[in-house]
Symmetry: C2
Subunit: 205 residues, 2 copies
């Protein structure tokens, strides 16, 4: 019943506070031009302390995406059992879309920073990959446990999160002109009906 100790709650709060102080610096100066010393000074703590809360500089920025893993798993689990799989996956990524469009300017700025910094882009994809197992588990539950091969489920989860990433990419590249939600619909639609694919096994030379 210990759940979250008072320590852990405090720690999470401090992390959020530090991240919110650090983000504007990154936006202004660019990710690579801000040092831990800068962040620590801005936050009024020592470099040591800042580093204790965020093991890497990337974590400071990507902290914003942390809740998405659980949120998307929960969203998928709450879809009606009768709903088809791809629609359920489309709805599962809604929390991600919502996170970035709640404050469209902030969301776009954040995503732009991630997209223009290879280290951040890479880490976001690592994080995204870490969400997959839980989503594949939810998918297995809803389609009867042995009905579809785990490999196929993992592939479809990969595809769904990939659709989200392509939508992010388009959104950043057109500077938020299009609606992120609509872009996500479009990427999911692009995989929904892959035109006439026959004989995967059996070598179509």
């Amino acid at each position: 019943m210990t759940g979250l100790s008072t320590r852990a709650i405090g720690r999470a709060a401090v992390r959020g506070e530090l991240a919110s102080i650090a983000l504007p610096r990154f936006f202004e100066a660019g990710f690579d031009n801000v040092t831990f010393d800068d962040l620590a000074t801005a936050a009024g703590v020592s470099r040591s302390t800042f580093l204790r809360y965020f093991g890497t500089k990337e974590d400071v920025v990507l902290f914003a995406f942390d809740p998405l893993g659980d949120a998307m798993s929960a969203a998928l689990a709450s879809r009606p059992a009768a709903e088809d799989e791809w629609t359920a996956l489309r709805r599962a990524v809604d929390p991600a879309v919502a996170l970035l469009t709640r404050e469209p300017d902030d969301g776009l700025t954040l995503l732009r920073l991630v997209w223009t910094t290879p280290a951040l882009w890479g880490r976001l994809h690592e994080k995204q990959a870490s969400w997959r197992p839980a989503l594949a588990d939810r998918l297995a539950e809803r389609s009867g446990d042995g009905a579809v091969s785990p490999l196929a489920l993992r592939t479809r989860v990969m595809a769904a999160l990939g659709c989200l990433m392509v939508a992010f990419d388009s959104w950043v590249n057109d500077n938020g002109r299009d609606d992120l939600d609509a872009l996500t619909d479009a990427t999911f639609a692009a995989l929904a009906s892959i035109p006439s694919y026959h004989q995967v096994n059996g070598r179509p030379s």
Copy 2:
């Protein structure tokens, strides 16, 4: 007609030589436990020189994947025009499968190193992403230029390379027991027919 100068050829050869000296060290000791000093000493050059050939440690390992971008583009371009898109994409990733299965032990060892080192895994995905534009261009050519939206094409290319990555993942995780080619077939098949997806736009609540 300058193409490749004699300089560039020499440089590429040296890169290959240095990489082939370095790889076994990584395999033995683990990526993080090998320093540039170690590599330089092993290769009989100075740290400066080694760093001039590979800007980062990740590049030393991922050097092996460098030719894949062009190889996959060429493979896709050479598919018959009548072939359906998804099959063409499946064939486009053949060079990647071939690269890793030519010497199955070496390929598996290399991929295991990449998969157990977050930094390498992330960089491989960056590199993979850098291959996408060219592949999307080849896809646009074969399906009449304006016929399918660029967003849809980019999404399908992402999905195809994602299938490859999931196949890699499975191959590493079962220690090469299954055939990588067959695993790739399976992941592509998992997206070929996404079961009954209706109405992406129009909010299926």
